[in-house]
């Protein structure tokens, strides 16, 4: 293996590592401190930068300049880059600002090479190309790590949102409440129907309140999903009291030509609760407390 063609890079990274690191970090910190104040740990970044440069030096000393450099997520260098990038992603950095990290390093390294290398143009070209090549790969790696982390965060969020957003509450013996909040799409509709039917069976619910106060737009698709849930619930013997349709919503629904036959509807959850209790032969009574 001939290492001499890239030897200038190795020497540069050995002799000027402190200067390169400091220049690089000054530039990165200048941008990041402005855009993400409070999210940047300067000491840690400097430590990471030093470690990364050390690994980079190691890579170039083993790298002949002909075979493609070995940068994967498993190598030491890749590990540092991935970790850094995924940390940025978690903290909400923009992809471009994260990519800036490697791009800035490339600029600093290139400048240093041009400044210190008074050798033949061939040697300089060779070195610049090697730097380009390695840092481009590093760049892609950080980008991959960034997207991966973001996707994981999004997947987790949507999962927890779906989990959280369809509770079925036992209000009183045989009376259930299903508060609907947010966008009702096919996935959520299926899930809430499943939960509702399970709960009806489990609690032998004879009345189910469906509150749609938190549904932002009641269009035909939402209506269809809710109708199907209602049909299934009625098959299990539960009566449905729908509550929380706004005056505007009611107008819009009738214009759309949607009617909820076989469903008792009340404007407010309060009125719906009274109705539901009546259906199971109960009522809420004043028992002489302090507050009337």
């Amino acid at each position: 293996m001939t290492t001499n063609s890239l030897a200038p890079i190795v020497t540069l990274l050995q002799q000027h590592r402190a200067a390169i690191s400091s220049e690089w970090m000054t530039e990165v910190l200048r941008v990041w401190m402005r855009l993400y104040p409070g999210l940047v740990n300067e000491d840690e970044l400097r430590r990471q930068a030093d470690a990364l440069l050390k690994e980079l030096g190691k890579l170039f000393s083993e790298h002949s300049g002909e075979a493609p450099p070995d940068i994967t997520g498993n190598s030491e260098l890749g590990e540092i880059a991935r970790e850094l990038s995924s940390e940025r992603a978690k903290k909400g950095f923009k992809p471009a600002d994260t990519a800036q990290y490697v791009i800035t390093l490339k600029n600093v390294l290139t400048q240093h090479l041009v400044r210190t290398l008074n050798e033949s143009p061939t040697s300089l070209t060779l070195c610049l190309r090697a730097v380009d090549d390695v840092l481009d790969r590093l760049s892609l790696l950080t980008f991959d790590a960034f997207v991966e982390t973001r996707e994981r965060v999004i997947a987790q969020q949507s999962l927890s949102l779906v989990e959280l957003s369809t509770p079925v509450i036992l209000l009183w013996n045989n009376v259930l409440l299903l508060p609907l909040i947010g966008v009702i799409d096919t996935v959520r509709a299926r899930q809430l129907t499943e939960r509702l039917l399970e709960s009806i069976t489990k609690h032998e619910a004879s009345v189910t309140l469906i509150d749609v106060t938190g549904v932002p737009v009641f269009d035909t698709s939402v209506a269809r999903h809710i109708m199907k849930a209602i049909d299934a619930a009625q098959l299990l013997g539960s009566r449905i009291v729908m509550t929380g349709i706004s005056p505007e919503g009611a107008q819009t629904l009738t214009k759309l030509g949607i009617s909820f036959a076989n469903v008792i509807s009340r404007a407010t959850l309060r009125a719906g609760l009274a109705e539901a209790l009546q259906l199971v032969g109960r009522r809420i009574e004043f028992t002489g407390g302090v507050h009337k």
Binding site: P216, K255, I258
Partner: protein
Amino acid sequence: MTTQPTNSSERVPILDASDIVRARGVARQVAGRIGFGLADQTRLATAVSELARNVVQYGEDGFCEIVDASDHNEMRLGILVEDHGSGIDNIDKAMKDGYTTGGGLGAGLPGTRRLMDEFVIESEPGLTRISIALVRKRS
């Protein structure tokens, strides 16, 4: 104080279900800014929701353009929804209540027409355009 004609427009690309939420959000926002009441805002948001959902379900890709065409005398919000899917075979049928090719309620298009003051639909394979508008005299 008189309101000057603004004629601003906003375009929302419609590619997947999340764009439905965005499009109707923009429609509601623009309607509120123009001065439409809550009931009319709800109508517009619902109409946009219907049309945008059709784009996602049948039209592959498209966009929704929301235009404020108000002037001194009237508030006017126009919406154009365009998609590049296979088009609607039979517009007369599609405009009838209860007719559906996709397992829906078949109320989307006729319902939207009832919600709006103006409704124009044209469709051929590769291009479907529906423009709707809600118009209110300024009081």
